[in-house]
Symmetry: C2
Subunit: 223 residues, 2 copies
């Protein structure tokens, strides 16, 4: 095996136990938090009238909670704020794994799946602190540079969170795992790493000509 | 408004109608297919015992169907192959939108959400053709260069598909949409584009030293 596997403690529940290729599973907060913090885009699953819905949304983490937000009028948020079950997934695609057989082709990735009841953040001070954390996760210090948030804007924004006490990570890294008998098959095999790159930052038409792109934006990293 | 909006025909169903910021919605096959084809990683939502699950998985498209696959032992595939309801989401994060107020911060993105009943591909010839299409979507012509697939491998692989007759796209592009009153607020505003970059391709230890990385792998594009 040429894969590097991260191992954690036991799964916190049966449904979070990584069943397929279980040696790719991890359950420690360090691994889970790192995967959540490296990304901006989660997929939130929920059920309406028995049917599954998956909505992409920006997320951030503070302590043992993953947060997301949106318009108070959003279907997803209104469905979830009543404390119904949610599943939130955050995934990073790290590369193509090109083997000598189609069967052993794979992807390198890091993903987290967390289950729980979404909880609406009602307290305005908590809500504002959470939105500050989200803004400053994107560009540290930016919140204080912005036109201050208004009470009406806070009211129009719903903030939800889910406690990370039923979460698992799944990680694949490294080279293909070909069958021994295929090792000499005459085809190129290996990995094509993928990563998220940024830039160039582009100011809108109202930014004064002499204003440089701030370092906290140029320093943004994803993945 | 500085956003460029793509408009399509009407939503195919009430639940696919983009409700929040409806002018970001599109329902035409050209837009939907382009977003699906630009990606490799979908998030599939399904329901087990009333609870939502979201599983990241590789996907590909052929005609009016989106396909995915995995081990015949997979919980997700076994849950879905009985023809239960699924929701599949494919999302591309295209950039940060940095406005003068926190409220108008946003992300540029392209996403597709499709609902339907997952259908298991049972016919071995169809299954093999689908897997060939997937492999060749990653690297055109690679299927024929590989050690041929075996009957056992085909049997161990489940292929599912979902017809794209209840799908919608949501796209945001362009600059922030600040309030008029904020236009002169002294903070940088604009976009930080994000994209998926690849490389360098790295051969595994069994590739002969003189074998170059094939052009069909170097040509891989995502997003």
């Amino acid at each position: 095996m040429t894969e590097r596997i991260r191992r954690g403690r036991q799964a916190p529940s049966e449904r979070t136990r990584v069943k397929r290729l279980g040696d790719r599973g991890a359950y420690d907060a360090e691994t889970i938090n790192a995967i959540l913090d490296a990304g901006l885009l989660a997929h939130v699953g929920y059920v309406i009238d028995g049917a599954p819905y998956v909505t992409p949304t920006a997320h951030w983490r503070e302590g043992d909670y993953v947060y997301w937000h949106g318009s108070s009028a959003s279907r997803m948020l209104r469905s979830l704020e009543g404390g119904v079950a949610a599943c939130i997934a955050v995934s990073h695609l790290d590369g193509l794994v090109l083997a000598r057989s189609a069967f052993h082709h794979s992807l390198n990735y890091r993903s987290v799946m967390a289950f729980g009841l979404a909880e609406k953040v009602e307290d305005p001070a908590h809500k504002e602190a959470a939105l500050r954390a989200f803004t400053d996760r994107i560009a540290p210090g930016r919140w204080d540079a912005l036109r201050p948030v208004t009470a009406q804007e806070l009211k129009a924004t719903s903030v939800l969170r889910l406690k990370l006490d039923e979460a698992s990570a799944k990680v694949r890294t490294g080279m293909p795992s070909d069958d021994e008998a295929d090792i000499d098959w005459p085809v190129w095999a290996g990995i094509l790493p993928l990563h998220v790159a940024s830039g160039p930052a582009t100011a809108d038409a109202h930014v004064p000509g002499g204003m440089a792109v701030p370092a906290n934006i140029l320093g943004f990293r994803h993945g």
